[in-house]
Symmetry: D2
Subunit: 341 residues, 4 copies
C-alpha cells in the first residue's frame, strides 16, 4: 500500500504534526509506503513528490508551516486536471490520498472521491470556521498569539491613556476575535457576524476610560460597521493592493480618536498569528487527526474527514464537512458583551 499526503491552502501550525503522525502510524502499524506531494494539489497534478520515511518526520512535530509546502491550486480549474491526477497516482503507484486542508482543499477531496480517487481529509482552518468539527488545529495557536499580544498592549494603553484597536484574523468568522478578546480581557470585541454600531463602540470606549482603564478593542479583519460596508470595501488600496493593512482596524482607531478626542492606535497582527510552533493543544489535536486519518485509509473509508466531537475523533462525510461556514452564534457573542466597556 502506498499513500500520498498533501497540504493545501494557507499554512497553519500543526500541519507537520499531522504529517508526522500519519507517516509514523502508517509505517509502524501498517507497513505502508508514503509519498509527499508538494504544494497542495499541484503535487498530484504535476507529479512533484518526495518519499516520506520515518527520518523525514522525526524533527517536525514542533515546527510551524509544512514540509510539503502548500498552494491554492484547484485541479478542477485546470484543464483535464482530474485525469492528470489519476495518471500521476497510477504512475507513482499511489493507492490513496490524505489531504490536509481547509474548505477548498476538502472540496476538491470530495469531488475526487466522487470521481473514483480514494481520499481521506484532515480539516485545517486557523479561523475555526469548518462546521463539521468542534475545533481544528491552528486555531488555538492563533488565539494564543493574539492573546499574548493583547496582554502586552494593556499596559501600553494604560500608561498613555490610549485606546488600542487590535485587528486579528477572521474574514468571515469571528472566532479568533471572540476567543482572544475574552482571553485578553478586551473592552470591545467586533466580529464579522454582527455589523457594529460605531456610537455603541464609542460609548463602551468612553465608559472604559471613565473607569481609569484604557480600552482594548479586538476587531476581526472582516468586521464591518453598520451601513459602512461600501466605504470600506471600495477604500483606496496601496500600490500592493493591501486594503486590509489599512483596513478596519485603522479605520476604527481613527473613528474612535475623532469622536472621543483620545489618542487611538491600531495594531494589525497579521501573519504572526499563523506561523511558528503550535501550542500543545494543537499538537495533540493534529497528532490525533493524523492517527485517525490512517485508520480511515486502513478501513478503506474514503470521502470522509476526521473531526473532533467532544473529546473523540470521529469521521464525517466530506460532503457534510464543507456544507456550511461555522460562524459565531449570536448567543456566544452576546455572552461576551457583559465584558464590554
Amino acid at each position: 500500500m502506498r499513500v500520498g499526503v498533501l497540504t493545501g491552502g494557507g499554512d497553519c501550525p500543526g500541519l507537520n504534526a499531522v504529517i508526522r503522525a500519519v507517516v509514523r502510524k502508517g509505517i509502524e502499524v501498517h507497513g505502508w509506503d508514503f509519498v509527499g506531494f508538494r504544494n497542495g494539489w499541484n503535487g498530484p497534478l504535476t507529479g512533484d513528490s518526495r518519499p516520506l520515511g520515518l527520518n523525514d518526520v522525526e524533527d517536525i512535530l514542533t515546527r510551524g508551516g509544512t514540509i510539503l509546502r502548500s498552494s491554492r491550486t484547484n485541479p478542477y480549474k485546470v484543464d483535464g486536471g482530474v485525469d492528470k491526477i489519476k495518471q500521476v497516482l497510477a504512475d507513482q503507484g499511489v493507492d490513496a490520498l490524505i489531504a490536509i486542508g481547509g474548505e477548498d482543499t476538502l472540496g476538491v477531496a470530495k469531488k475526487l472521491t466522487d470521481d473514483g480517487v480514494g481520499v481521506v481529509g484532515v480539516p485545517k482552518t486557523i479561523d475555526n470556521d469548518l462546521g463539521a468539527t468542534d475545533y481544528t488545529f491552528g486555531f488555538d495557536t492563533a488565539v494564543s498569539i493574539a492573546t499574548e499580544a493583547i496582554d502586552r498592549l494593556h499596559t501600553t494603553a494604560e500608561s498613555h491613556h490610549r485606546a488600542l484597536v487590535v485587528e486579528v484574523m477572521g474574514r468571515h468568522a469571528g472566532w479568533i476575535a471572540l476567543h482572544s478578546g475574552l482571553a485578553g480581557g478586551a473592552s470591545v470585541i467586533l466580529v464579522p457576524e454582527k455589523h457594529f454600531n460605531v456610537d455603541q463602540v464609542v460609548s463602551w470606549v468612553e465608559r472604559r476610560f471613565e473607569k481609569e482603564y484604557a480600552p482594548i478593542i479586538v476587531v476581526a479583519e472582516g468586521a464591518l460597521p453598520e451601513g459602512g460596508e461600501e466605504k470600506l470595501l471600495t477604500g483606496e488600496k496601496d500600490a500592493f493592493g493591501h486594503v486590509r493593512l489599512g483596513g478596519i482596524g485603522t479605520w476604527l482607531a481613527d473613528e474612535i480618536a475623532s469622536r472621543t478626542g483620545k489618542e487611538s492606535r491600531a495594531v494589525v497582527l497579521g501573519h504572526v498569528q499563523r506561523g511558528g510552533t503550535p501550542t500543545a493543544y494543537d499538537r495533540v489535536l493534529a497528532t490525533r487527526f493524523g492517527l485517525h486519518a490512517v485508520d480511515a485509509v486502513a478501513d478503506g473509508d474514503f470521502g470522509v474527514m476526521v473531526a473532533l466531537k467532544g473529546t473523540d475523533i470521529v469521521r464525517v462525510k466530506l460532503s457534510e464537512a464543507t456544507a456550511e461556514l461555522k460562524t459565531v452564534p449570536v448567543e456566544r457573542y452576546e455572552e461576551a458583551e457583559v465584558f464590554f466597556g
Copy 2:
C-alpha cells in the same frame, strides 16, 4: 440577591478568571452583591469574607492562583460545620454560593445542597480527572508548561546522548503525561492507569538511541512498574516526607542508567505546572464556566455543576459530577504507543 464565592483545593490557573466572570455578570446583568469567602470552605465556616465588586476583579483575569486563597477544609469533618455555615450565610445575608473546586470541594457542595444550602459548582482539576466534563481549566496550562519543558530537554538529551525522564503531575490519572508526552514528542509515556514493564521501557529507550536520537520519557508521578508497587510506596522518605521528589522519575532514571549503561537524568517539574498565568484556552473556558454558573444561580438551579460538552457549557448534577474518576482509557494510551521508541 447576595451571592458568595469560594475556591477550594489545590490552586489552578483560571480560578481568578472564573471569579471575574461571575462577579462581572452577576453585577452587570443581575445587579447582585457578592462576597468572597476566603480559604475555601473555611470562609463560610468562620465568616472570613470580603466584598467583591467590579474593581476587585478588574485586573485578575491573567493572574494565576486565586485572590480568595484556598484550603482543603471540609466542613463535614468539623463539629457542627454545616450549622456554622448556615449561620454565617444568614448573618451575612448570603442567598447562594458558587463553589469552585475539585472532587472534594464539589462533594461538600453536593452535601450542602442536600442540606438545604443553594450551591452551584464550578469544576477545577488540573489533572483533568473529573468525569462529568470534557475538560477543566488549568489542564491546558499544565500541559503547555510540561510540553515547553520537554521541548527544551530534547536538545540537552541529544547533545549529551542522555536519557531524560520527566516526571509530571498526575497521581491517579495520566492525562497530563499523555497530552504533554504526545505534544512534546516523548519516546515513552507512562501513566498510572497501566503498570509499566521496565524491560519494555528499556527496549524503547535503546531503540531510540539506535536511531541517533536521545529518549525523553514522560512519567506521571503516580505511574508504577509492574510488581514494583510496594518498593516505591514504602521507599525511604527524606526528613520532610518528600517521597515524590525522589519518586518514580528518579527511580526510573536509575533503572534506565543501570540497564542501558547510558547517562540518565530525572527532571521533576513539580509546582511549576500549576502556577502562573493561564493559557488563552483556560481563560476562555474558565470565563465561560463563570458566566454559566451565574445563569444557574439566576435560575435557582442548585446542586449542579457547569461542565464542558463539546463546545457547549451544560449543567450536570453534582452527584453525577463526582461519581467517578476519569482516567485515561486504554485506547487513548495505545494510540500513543505508535510514537514510543
Copy 3:
C-alpha cells in the same frame, strides 16, 4: 527626606521595576518618604501626585507600563513652568526628584538641575539610542518580542514561497532591527543609519529564494531607500495620519513583489514591541538602575544619570547623557551583512 519619582515619554517594559527598586531601597535603607508624580513632568507642574509606599510597589515588578503613567509634557514649554514645579515641590515637601525617561525627560532633568532642583535621571529608551549607557531596559524586551515574531514568520514564508517584510521600531537608530534581525536569522536587515539600495535588497531576496528558503527582511521604521526619502515622507496619509502603518514595510514589500514576481507581505509589529512584562534581563537592569539612583540621591549627587558600563552601574553627567544619539556603527552593520541573502 522626601523624594519624588516620575516617568516620562513613551512607555517601556521595566519602568515599574525601577519604581519598585527606588521605593524599596529608599524606605528600607534610608527611611525616606516617596511621592509619585503622575503623567511625567505634568505631575510636578500641577501637583498631581500620590504617596508611594512599600505596598504600592509589591506587585509591580513584572508589569509592563508604569503605575505613574506618562506624558510628553515639557515644563520648559509651559509659561512659568519651572517656578510652578519649584512651588509644587516646596508645597509637597519634596527634596529631590528621580526622573525616569528618555532624551526629552532627561533634557528637562538637566535644565532643572541647572535651575536649582535636585534631580537624578534614570535612562529609558526602547530604541537603545542613548549614548551614555551601554544599554537601557526595554530594549531587550523589544528585541525579544520582535525575534519571536520573526521566528514565527519563517515557517509561513517558507510554506508559501513568500518574502515577508517585518517592520520594527527604530525611527532614528536601527538597534532593534539589527539585534532582532541577527537573532531571528533575517535574510536582510535595513536600518535608518544607511540608506538602502532596492536593487541590492532584491538580489539578496532572490539569492535566498534560490536556496529554497524564503526571505525575511527586517526593516526599522525609519529606514529609507537611497534617493527615495521624499517619496515616503510626503506619502499619503490615511484619515488618522498613520503614514507609518503603510510606511516603509509595506512600500518595500510592494517593491519586492513587483521586481521579483514573488508574493511579498508586510507585517508591522507596532506597539506590541513596547508592552507587557519585561524580560529577566530588563528587570535586572531596571532594578539595578533604581537602586543606584537612590545611592546618587543619598550622596546628593544631582544632575547625573545612572548608566550601564560593562557590568557596572555608574553615574554620568546628564549633559553628557543627552549629548548625542547613539546610532548603529557602520562596523556593526557590516558585520551582519554576512548573513544577508
Copy 4:
C-alpha cells in the same frame, strides 16, 4: 584554509548559533572549508568529524544543544592525546581549530596552543563564571527560564500560604540565583559565595508571611548553610547517586517548614534551565562571538578567546581567560538584600 570546529562540556543554548556564524563568515568572507569534530575533544582525538557547509547551518540558529554533540573528554588525560590530535589534524588537512566550551575545554585549548596547534576559543558557561568576559551566551537563557518559573510559583505560594524554595543551577557561582532572584522578585536569594544563616532565612520568610505574601526562596545548588557543609556533602544518596535532587533546596524547605510551621515545598529546576531555544540576547552574543572568532583565525591570532567587554567583542589570552572563577562580588549580593523579606 581548513578550519575545525568543536563544542565541549555541558550543553548551552547558543552553541549552534556560534557554529552557524563561524561557518557562514568563514565560507562567505574567506572561502574556507570547515570540518565539525564530534563530541568535544574526542573528535580531533579519534578523527570523528563531518564536513560543515552552508546548508548544514541554515536551520540551526534557534536550536538549543549542539549539532556537533559534546563530551568532557580531555586529551591531556589520554595517553599520547596531543600527538593523536596533531595526527588527525594533519590527516584531515585542518589548519586551525575553533573550540567552543567552558573552563575545561578552553584549558585544553590553551595547552594545545602552547603545544603548537592553532586554536581560538569561544567561551561558554551557563553559570557566567568565566572571569575574562562580561557575559557568555546561555546565561541569559538560563536566567529567563528560571525567572519564568519563579513568576509562576508566586501565585501558587500565595494561594496556599506556602514557602517555595526554588533550586537553580550554580555549583560554585551564584549568578543564576542572583539574577533570576532579582528578576523574579524573590524574598530570599542564597548563593555559594556566602554561607547562609538559617535563622536569618527563617526571619525573612516570617517577615514575608506577615506582609500577607508568600515567600519564594531562590537557592543556587551550591549554596550551603553556615557550618552545615559536612551534613549536606555526606548526605545520603539515592541509588542513582542524586544527592543534588534531594539537595540544598529540599533540605532548606524542610528546615523552613519545621521552624515556621508553614507548609514549604522545593522545586528543583534542573536541566530545563540549559536546554531549548536561546533568548534573543544569547543568539546575538553567540553570533557575534562566532564572527569574531573567525576574525582571530584570519589574523592568525591563536591562543586567544573572544570575550564581551561592554558592548564590544575583544580578544583575551586563553591563559587569562581561565585563570580564575568569576563569583558574585559581595557588593552585588548585598545590593540585592534590600529585597529580602
